[in-house]
């Protein structure tokens, strides 16, 4: 090679090489921008259809004693309460189990026990939600809800909530464990140095230091629980309408459950043409709620990153 080839400009290569470089870069950038297109499409599709629907309904229809789309009764509060009920049960199940698992894996487990126990969560995370829905319907409802809590009936918010909670455990555990893992060892060593025990270190050093990440994990878990569809569609039991209720032993309708039952057409067979498009409005509400929760949890995660 002659010496002129080592000049810095020539290192950039010939025109063909640079053209190729530009083309590749533009292709990659386009792929990255596509994700923005998807978000915009979601927002436009949801708001466009939902606003159209809102113009068509009479506003008093949005307030009633239940969600009966076939009879033009679209009481959003019914769905909201159902969703909150399921999410609350789910969080009651998933918070202690998820955080406990995270604390054990991060502070107490030796590398060997970790290798053995961590896959439990990974396998659990891989179970599809329809399967949990079936499990909630055929096992949790008759064997747990009915025998332990004395509920009656084939469906309930409680069994759906427990099912959703089981699905949420791995998510909460993994995000919380990351946060605990990020706590610098110096803090632990300082505590051990003045004679603290493991439990003291875990509860009084690691937990407070990781609290933003743990809050982020819980918010993400809540968002996941609110958006979970199949467990609710199978185990909460309302295909079609439902009365407003806050009794966890009742069956009923949630936002995601309403969307899915409108979609599979159990509500549009007869009845007004207003029923099916209602799912866009419910979908928009769902999107807004989960979006707000996701943004909030991202805030907390960023706080962890800043601190350490």
């Amino acid at each position: 090679m002659s010496s002129e080839h080592t000049a810095p400009q020539l290192l950039r290569g010939n025109a063909k090489r640079r053209r190729k470089e530009r083309a590749v870069r533009i292709a990659f950038q386009a792929a990255a921008l596509f994700s923005l297109v998807v978000s915009v499409a979601i927002v436009v599709a949801l708001t466009g259809q939902a606003v159209g629907w809102l113009f068509d309904v009479d506003l008093p229809m949005l307030w009633g004693d239940g969600w009966f789309p076939r009879q033009d009764e679209f009481d959003i509060l019914t769905l909201l309460l159902g969703t909150l009920l399921v999410a609350a049960v789910a969080m009651l199940v998933a918070t202690p189990l998820g955080l406990g698992a995270a604390l054990f894996l991060s502070e107490f487990a030796t590398p060997r026990t970790r290798r053995i126990l961590k896959p439990i969560l990974e396998v659990l995370a891989g179970i599809p939600s329809v399967v949990l829905g079936y499990f909630a319907l055929t096992v949790i409802q008759p064997d747990v809800v009915t025998t332990v809590f004395g509920g009656a009936g084939a469906f309930s918010f409680l069994s759906a909530g427990i099912g959703v909670g089981i699905l949420t455990i791995p998510l909460i555990a993994s995000v919380a464990e990351d946060a605990m893992y990020a706590v610098p060892n110096a803090l632990r060593e300082a505590a051990y140095g003045i004679g603290a025990r493991r439990r003291t270190v875990a509860l009084h050093v690691v937990l407070p230091a990781a609290v933003s990440g743990i809050v982020a994990a819980l918010i993400l878990g809540l968002s996941r629980a609110i958006g979970e569809t199949m467990v609710v569609a199978i185990a909460a039991g309302a295909t079609g309408g439902a009365l407003r209720t806050i009794n966890p032993f009742d069956g009923g309708q949630t936002m995601t459950g309403a969307i899915s039952s409108l979609a599979i057409g159990s509500d549009q067979v007869q009845g007004s043409s207003l029923a099916f498009p209602a799912l866009y409005f419910v979908g928009l509400c769902l999107f807004v709620i989960t979006f707000a929760l996701n943004v909030a949890s991202e805030r907390f995660v960023r706080r962890v990153r800043k601190a350490y």
Binding site: F28, L33, A45, L97, G100, A101, F104, V130, Y280, G283
Partner: protein, 313 residues
């Protein structure tokens, strides 16, 4: 040597601090934490066990016939074959669409993008998309892929393989991007600098230095996200996965098949679960067993790949 010495020292210090008392409350606390993981294990075992015992008669009576039969209104003749085929076609479609797009976007964001406001927005947006409930993606698929792009995806506004596959692809893409970015981030900068040092362009650095090292991590992550797409049901309900009988005449061109009606394995699990009667319940359980076997195989492959190629720097 010194490690052994310091270990011994720590042991004796710990013993002295403990003062020979057994830390009972500490042990109870640790036991409670182990219990949380055991509860998860018990749930898993109970789930698999009850499903298997419910499904067992179906497999004992019909064996492969259940897997190979089409959907039917009769519980004793219904099978999951159309669902298995449908799910495999959907997943192949998702892989073809979402993997290249997702990996390309990840390469851009991790290797090319500077820390500008637009790029920060892109990353935040992708994280948010990964958290959007899957039903919402279903609505997107219904409005955009099934209705607006109906001339492309098939005449039936309720949905087709194409609209279902595109919906799942869009759903999986953010996850593919995030895991691929993670895999790229794990490749040390020194590898890149070595390549730049001999005059490689950015694309050459990525292609021949970064990607080979990041590939195992990317494969594992993307395989896991495909497994997730395989079990995804809610969005398919909106883009028209058929829950009842589905007619699949032979002699159609590949495009006609892709534009035609479809069903998927998890959708069949859902529709079987919704039917009344013990024989349908057994069918639902048997369909779940088939679904879990496929997903476990896929996950096992991903974990094996990870263990085999995992690299510590």
């Amino acid at each position: 040597m010194s490690v052994v010495a310091s270990d011994a020292a720590r042991g004796s210090v710990e013993a002295a601090l403990r003062g020979r008392r057994v830390d009972l409350r500490g042990s109870v606390f640790k036991g409670l934490l182990v219990l949380t993981l055991l509860v998860a294990l018990v749930v898993l075992v109970a789930l698999v066990w009850t499903t298997w015992t419910t499904a067992q008669p179906v497999f004992a009576e019909r064996g492969w016939d259940f897997v190979r039969s089409d959907v039917s209104a009769l519980a004793s003749r219904a099978g999951v074959w159309q669902g298995v085929v449908g799910s495999l076609i959907l997943i192949a479609f998702v892989a073809v669409v979402a993997l290249p797009l997702g990996v390309a976007a990840a390469i851009y964001l991790q290797e090319y993008a500077r820390d500008t406001r637009l790029n920060r927005l892109l990353i935040a947006n992708i994280r948010n998309l990964a958290g959007v409930p899957s039903v919402v993606f279903g609505i997107l698929g219904l409005v955009v892929f099934a209705q607006a792009l109906g001339f492309l995806t098939g005449p039936d506004v309720n949905g087709s393989y194409l609209s279902g596959g595109l919906t799942l692809a869009v759903l999986v893409m953010p996850i593919v991007i995030l895991v691929s970015m993670e895999a790229l981030r794990a490749v040390p900068t020194s590898i890149r600098e070595a390549a730049y040092g001999v005059g490689a362009t950015r694309w050459e650095v990525v292609r021949s230095h970064v990607l080979p090292y990041a590939a195992p991590g990317m494969f594992t992550g993307t395989i896991l996200s495909l497994a997730r797409a395989f079990g995804e049901t809610a969005p398919l309900l909106l883009v028209g996965a058929v829950t009842g009988y589905i007619n699949t005449p032979s002699g159609r061109s590949p495009l006609e098949i892709l534009q035609g009606p479809y069903t998927a394995l998890p959708t069949l699990v859902y529709s079987f679960s919704k039917q009344i009667g013990d024989d349908w319940r057994a069918n639902a359980a048997a369909a779940i067993i088939v679904l879990l076997v496929v997903i476990l195989v896929v996950n096992a492959v991903a974990i094996l790949l990870r263990n085999r190629y995992e690299r510590r720097w």
